[in-house]
Symmetry: C2
Subunit: 145 residues, 2 copies
DNA sequence: ACTAAATAGGATTAAATTATCCGAAATGAA
DNA sequence: TTCATTTCGGATAATTTAATCCTATTTAGT
């Protein structure tokens, strides 16, 4: 409803990589797509974007794979992942698609939607990769099925 | 962010038709697409769906056009329009795309997202075509630019 | 009856998103 | 060095969504 398929995969993948990193393990693309139940080649493209954005680190070669530092994952927010995959977020986007929709010139749904938009932006801005991967690592949440 | 382009056009079109109906005027497709600034042929397809779903009424022929009854527009909610255009809403859809995501088996974002989802569903379930078109008619909100 | 104006509907095209394939480059280990 | 394993990157395909085009049908007015 709010994320593209690419973002869904990308966020799950990043969480999985982070969770493995918590346990000092590096993971391969094959491993990731299997454990988060996503199409491997497509997810690989998405991870490339995350690597280029500096969100996760990749190591080439035989024992290579993906990883992310413990300090880094605390600073990485959902927003960063979404931007790396889908590009900048238009925070002024109107729920009914008007080019200009604001407090001064609102669309007919603006006054009800504005609180929802605020909550969504606040959620993705405040939720860190670290807290999500810790939740998975603690068995409080899961990444597939 | 939450509606497809087709829904954005469809909702705006329905509101415009309703606003005209408040003033006892029937409106044509050309009029609608001009006044809500949307592609005419595409919007026409969408209005056909709304007509088939019984949300608005169409009249063929020379002085034909679209209209909606005053009583009806009070009962029509955003949900009805969205379902008519995009099909049933999956209220259990996981924000990270998991097939099964629930209180018992949550994704890592579930506990933060569930409140947002609740608010979105509540908004589209409670907002009527009538209140939106009245808001436009009163000059409190607008449908284009 | 004719015409102009309007919706209905099928066929098609365009664009964006999702997804796959394959060869190149890197790298650790035998 | 050679090999197996891995990420990288370009090309391409498939699917979904968005949008257009054209013809048929309806109907009020002349």
């Amino acid at each position: 409803m709010i994320f593209s398929k690419a973002c869904e995969y990308g966020i799950r993948a990043a969480i999985y990589v982070a969770q493995k990193s918590i346990n000092h393990e590096r993971c391969s693309m094959k491993d990731i797509s299997k454990e988060i139940d996503s199409p491997e080649a497509f997810t690989a493209k998405i991870l490339q974007k995350l690597v280029k954005a500096g969100i996760i680190k990749s190591v080439k070669g035989a024992t290579g794979g993906f990883e992310v530092g413990l300090k880094e994952m605390k600073k990485i927010k959902l927003t960063d992942i979404v931007i790396a995959i889908d590009g900048e977020i238009d925070e002024k986007k109107c729920v009914l698609g008007l080019k200009k929709c604001s407090e001064d010139q609102p669309c007919p749904a603006h006054n009800k939607y504005k609180f929802i938009k605020k909550d969504v932006l606040s959620m993705i801005h405040n939720t860190s990769l670290s807290e999500m991967s810790n939740s998975v690592d603690a068995g409080l949440s899961c990444l597939k099925i």
